[in-house]
Every structure is written in structure tokens, then in C-alpha cells.
């Protein structure tokens, strides 16, 4: 019983301390600094690290405080993090959803608190979102498909390594790719297999595909991690000259592989640009300016 009482006292003290701490920036201090929240799906991926860096740079430049919260790809964590941002009364929330459906209640909660919401990369399937900032994955997939056709001279067997089944990136990039290659005479997609956006899986799946298809001339992977894994398998099989690999995302490793001539190309999303545009759009909204509901982030083909 006594212990319980002590525990209660400790809890109360803790509550009081944090309450004071949290209140300070608003009551004390001369100038009011705008705070923008960035709820990011994961920092366990170079792409989102770049996105964060781009947003941070833009925020630093504008003298805005950016609170970055990492959901580690867990939708539940993300919802509570957004709730935390709402109770901090930030001026705008930029959300990079872990899941387009699971994030909806959090968006609605922000709507209720009159805090404008911007989504980046992945969209939210509900609630009021002022602006969505993303690259056009379908266009990127098509760009990759057309480049691959050009590389193989419009002739031969090709492979598609798919991302995690059911994700919008895998769906859209695949759709764009098929818009480019389907129905082309002389071109067959002999294998279309999931490797879950993962380098180790890309390696294994490509090793397996090479067992049954020795005459492949091209590979399109829905992201660079899988492309780089496939590249290791192709190199080990001694077929680097025969097979052209095109990835997506233009991560540092992939761009290096392209420069070395091992990988044929990759589609660059511009995560830093995405982060920058998100913060700039948020500032415009806070300043009361009108913004477009979709802000496309340009893609580009990276080749040697």
C-alpha cells in the first residue's frame, strides 16, 4: 500500500514536470517559432532518411521548428505519434503514412483540432488532406519499361521483381512498367516474382529465376534494393554482360552501380525534393496561401 502511494506521488511529480516542460515554449520566450510536425513511416530506409533531410533543410532555412517522429513502419505507433503532435498544437502536420487506411483516424483527429494535414509519398484514404506530395509511380514504371526496351533492342525475355504485394508503390510501378512492355512483339515477361523490396530476397529470387531462365536479357525491379540483390546474383552467374538491370529510387548504392556500368539505370524519385516541397507547402498553408491539392515531384532517369 505504502509502495503504491509512493508510486502515485512519483507519477504525479513526473506528470507535473512534463506538463511544465511542455507548456514552456508557448508561455515563455519572446518570439513565437512556428512548429511543423513530420510523422514519417520509417527511418529504417535511406529513402525516408533523405526525405527527412530535405524537410529538415527547408525548415532550417525558413527558421521553422520541425518535429520528426518515426513510426518504424507501425501504423499504431504512427497514429499515437500524430495524436502527440496534435496535443503539442503544431501549426501543420506532414504525414508520410505507414498505411493509407490506418492513418485515416489520425487525419480526422487533426481535422477536428483544425490543424492542416499534408501527406507525402503515400496518400491517406480518408479525412481532409490539404495537399498530397508524391512522385508519379506509374509514370516512373513506364519510364523504366521504355528504357529497358530500348536497352534490349525491343527483343528478348525480361524479368519483373515485384515489391511487397498490395503496396501502392508495387502496384503503380508494375502498372507503368506493363504499360510500356505489354503487347510488344518479341518481348516476354518470363518471370514476375515478389522480392518484397528487400536486397537479400532480390538476390535469392533472381538466383532461382536464373535457374529456370538462362536466356534473360533484362530485369526491372520495383526498387533499387531488389535490383542490387539481383545484380549480385547475375554477377555470380557470370551474366553481367548479358542482362541489363533497371531499378527504381536512385539510392546511393544504385547510382554508384550505374556509374560503374554494372547496373543499366534507375528511376530517381527525389525524396529530398519531396521533403523540401512538403515543408514549403506547409508554410504556404500556414501563411493562408492557396496550394494545389496534388504537388507532383518530378522523376528522372539515371543512366550512365
Amino acid at each position: 500500500m505504502k509502495r503504491l502511494a509512493w508510486f502515485a506521488v512519483a507519477l504525479l511529480t513526473l506528470g507535473l514536470v512534463t506538463a511544465c516542460g511542455g507548456a514552456q515554449p508557448k508561455t515563455g520566450g519572446g518570439e513565437q517559432k512556428t512548429t511543423i510536425g513530420l510523422a514519417i513511416s520509417t527511418l529504417n530506409n535511406p529513402f525516408f532518411v533523405d526525405l527527412r533531410d530535405g524537410a529538415q533543410e527547408a525548415a532550417d532555412k525558413a527558421g521553422v521548428t520541425l518535429v520528426v517522429l518515426d513510426a518504424q513502419d507501425d501504423p499504431g505507433t504512427q497514429v499515437s505519434q500524430i495524436e502527440d503532435l496534435i496535443s503539442q498544437k503544431v501549426s501543420a502536420i506532414i504525414i508520410n503514412p505507414t498505411d493509407s487506411d490506418a492513418v485515416v483516424p489520425a487525419v480526422e483527429a487533426a481535422n477536428k483540432a483544425n490543424i492542416p494535414v499534408i501527406t507525402v509519398d503515400r496518400a491517406a484514404n480518408g479525412g481532409e488532406v490539404v495537399a498530397h506530395i508524391a512522385s508519379d509511380n506509374v509514370a516512373g514504371g513506364k519510364m523504366a519499361g521504355e528504357f529497358l526496351l530500348e536497352l534490349i533492342g525491343g527483343n528478348g525475355n525480361i524479368v519483373e521483381l515485384e515489391g511487397i504485394a498490395g503496396t501502392s508503390a508495387a502496384r503503380d510501378r508494375g502498372e507503368g512498367f506493363h504499360q510500356a512492355v505489354d503487347g510488344k512483339e518479341g518481348v516476354t515477361v518470363v518471370a514476375k516474382q515478389p522480392a518484397d523490396f528487400d536486397r537479400a530476397k532480390g538476390l535469392e529470387v533472381m538466383e532461382n529465376i536464373l535457374q529456370s531462365n538462362p536466356d534473360i536479357v533484362g530485369v526491372f525491379a520495383h526498387n533499387d534494393e531488389m535490383a542490387l540483390g539481383a545484380l549480385e546474383a547475375i554477377e555470380a552467374a557470370g551474366k553481367l554482360d548479358q542482362i541489363k538491370v533497371v531499378g527504381f529510387d536512385a539510392t546511393d548504392d544504385a547510382v554508384k552501380a550505374v556509374q560503374e556500368g554494372r547496373m543499366a539505370g534507375t528511376i530517381a524519385q527525389k525524396p529530398k525534393e519531396m521533403g523540401r516541397l512538403a515543408v514549403e507547402t506547409a508554410q504556404k498553408i500556414i501563411a493562408g496561401e492557396k496550394v494545389d491539392s496534388f504537388v507532383p515531384v518530378p522523376l528522372e532517369l539515371v543512366k550512365k
Binding site: 535511406p46 516474382q193 535469392e204 535457374q211 529456370s212 542490387l228 549480385e232 555470380a236
Partner: protein, 311 residues
């Protein structure tokens, strides 16, 4: 009595082996590319990482424990090995440092369970998060690439035509088999798993046995991490996520009881083989992605159910 127990153990070992034969026969009929020397070596190489982790997992599960941290331990060891090697440390030292990280994390798990009295599930869940977090801190969330030749050869090299990971796997399986069956501490692992109280009364140093099981699992996960680093020519911050599930599946498919005390490492290798053959076969047959997950789950359940029947 004695004969009956041996008979039961024999059947338990045969069940998974039978599953391998059935799946192998089915795949050979469905795809002419399955039963080739190059593809079988390919499957074994792909199986090696999971099999090495699962050897450790077998020891822990034999003590009626569990280790959820194997994938994260793999990732941190891989990152540290890669980071040091890229930084110019002599590759062998970098590898030893990686293995050392595995040993420390394994020891940490063991002490949490024995000294701290934390249930293995919770203790290793905590370590799993800590090790993954440290991996992200160390790598900054980015892959570490371009390994020196020595580290590369652990994953991509060959010894007289046989891929190095397969050789390492064979050595690990042999060592763990001998340890479990022919050394006092190995037998203690079974004793502790079947009845910790009785083991304690029999004068077996239970805490030390448990700690050793977790420590060895940490080292083996780290070894798998080194091999993966070589295979991918890089260390990935996300490496090994979900590996604990594959390892547990291999152990269970191999007939080791989650209640502890029963089973062995040979069954585990067969279990890992079933999973590897399945992944390979689904790719060879170009099965659409949505159906692959259904097929994997179904085969695992059927194999375990068949195994139960036979007991």
C-alpha cells in the same frame, strides 16, 4: 521402455525427411529446372543462413526458451563487420568483432533470463528492439557497401566447387550435433528443457547451461550475419527482419518440441530445407505473388500436421 523412446525419436526424425522427399518429388515433376546440380547447390546456399540461425534456435528451444532477437543480432553484427571492414580494419578482425557482438548480445539475453528472471520471450523481444535500434544508429539507416574480398568470399566464394556458405553450414551443423549429443553441457540442455527442477536437483548448473544456449545462438546469428554481408556485398540496416520466424519455423518443422527437451539439430536442417525448397520452387514455377504466401503457410501447416500424426 528404452526401446519405445528410441522408436518415437526415430519416427520424429523421419517425418520431416519424408516431407522433403515429397516436396522434392513434386517440384521435380512440375519444373525440369528443380532437380539439377546447380539448382540444388543454389537451394542449399539459400538455406544456409536460416539453417545456421536455426541451429542456435534449436538449442534455445530445447531449453524450452525462445530467441526473437536473432534477426536483429544478425543485422548489428553484419553492420559492425561491414563498418569496420570499410573503415580499413583487417577483414578477419572485423569478422571477429561481428561475432563478438553476437556473443555479447547472446550473453545479455542469457543473463536477462537467468539472473534477471525475465521470460525468454520478453527478454529477447527487448534485445531484438535494442539491437535493431543500434543497427540503425550505427548505419544511419543506410546500407554499408563494398566489402573486401575476404568478407565477400564468406558469402559468395567457393571451396572446391561448393559455395562457402554451404561449407560453413555443414561445419556448424556438425559441431552443434556433436555438442548436443556427445558433450555433458549438450546433454544438460536436454535435461534443463525437459525438467528444470529435476535438472537443478541433479546438480546441473541450470543458469550456466541456459546462458550458454543463448550465447551460442547469438554467435551463430552473428555468423549468419557475416555470411549475408558477403553474399550481398553490403550490410543492410533492415537485414534479418523476420528471420526469427523462419528459424522458429525450421526448428518446429524439424520436429523439435516448443515445450523443450525433445528434438535435435538434424531435424532443424531438414526443416530449413523444406522452407528453402518451397521458396525456390515457387520462383521456378513463377507462382503469382499473392498465392505464394498462401502456399507457404499451407505447406508448413501440412508438414507439421503430418508430423503430429506420425507420433
Amino acid at each position: 521402455m528404452q526401446a519405445k523412446i528410441n522408436w518415437g525419436a526415430r519416427v520424429r526424425q523421419m517425418g520431416p525427411g519424408l516431407a522433403v522427399l515429397v516436396i522434392g518429388a513434386a517440384l521435380s515433376m512440375l519444373s525440369r529446372d528443380f532437380l539439377t546440380a546447380s539448382n540444388l547447390l543454389n537451394v542449399l546456399r539459400q538455406v544456409s543462413i536460416n539453417a545456421i540461425i536455426a541451429c542456435g534456435m534449436t538449442m534455445v528451444i530445447l531449453t524450452a526458451g525462445i530467441d526473437l532477437s536473432v534477426g536483429s543480432v544478425l543485422a548489428l553484427s553484419s553492420a559492425v563487420t561491414a563498418g569496420l571492414a570499410v573503415g580499413g580494419t583487417y577483414p578477419l578482425l572485423a569478422i571477429l568483432a561481428g561475432l563478438g557482438i553476437g556473443a555479447i548480445l547472446g550473453l545479455f539475453n542469457g543473463l536477462l533470463v537467468t539472473r534477471g528472471g525475465v521470460p525468454p520471450f520478453v527478454a529477447t523481444l527487448g534485445t531484438m528492439a535494442i539491437a535493431r535500434g543500434l543497427t540503425l544508429v550505427y548505419t544511419g539507416g543506410r546500407p554499408i557497401s563494398k566489402m573486401p574480398a575476404m568478407i565477400r568470399s564468406t558469402g559468395a566464394g567457393y571451396i572446391t566447387g561448393i559455395p562457402v556458405p554451404i561449407v560453413i553450414m555443414a561445419v556448424v551443423v556438425l559441431l552443434v550435433y556433436v555438442f548436443l549429443n556427445h558433450t555433458p553441457y549438450g546433454r544438460f540442455i536436454y535435461a534443463v528443457g525437459s525438467n528444470p527442477e529435476a535438472a537443478r536437483f541433479a546438480g546441473i548448473p541450470v543458469a550456466r547451461v541456459l546462458t550458454l544456449a543463448y550465447l551460442l545462438t547469438g554467435v551463430l546469428s552473428a555468423l549468419a550475419g557475416v555470411i549475408l554481408t558477403g553474399r550481398l556485398n553490403s550490410a543492410q540496416p533492415t537485414a534479418g527482419s523476420g528471420d526469427e520466424m523462419d528459424a522458429i519455423a525450421a526448428v518446429v518443422l524439424g520436429g523439435t518440441s516448443l515445450a523443450g527437451g525433445q528434438g535435435g539439430v538434424l531435424g532443424t536442417v531438414v526443416g530449413a530445407l523444406i522452407i528453402g525448397m518451397l521458396n525456390n520452387g515457387l520462383n521456378l514455377l513463377n507462382v503469382p505473388s499473392f498465392y505464394q504466401q498462401v502456399a507457404k503457410g499451407a505447406v508448413i501447416l501440412v508438414a507439421v500436421l503430418l508430423d503430429r500424426r506420425r507420433r
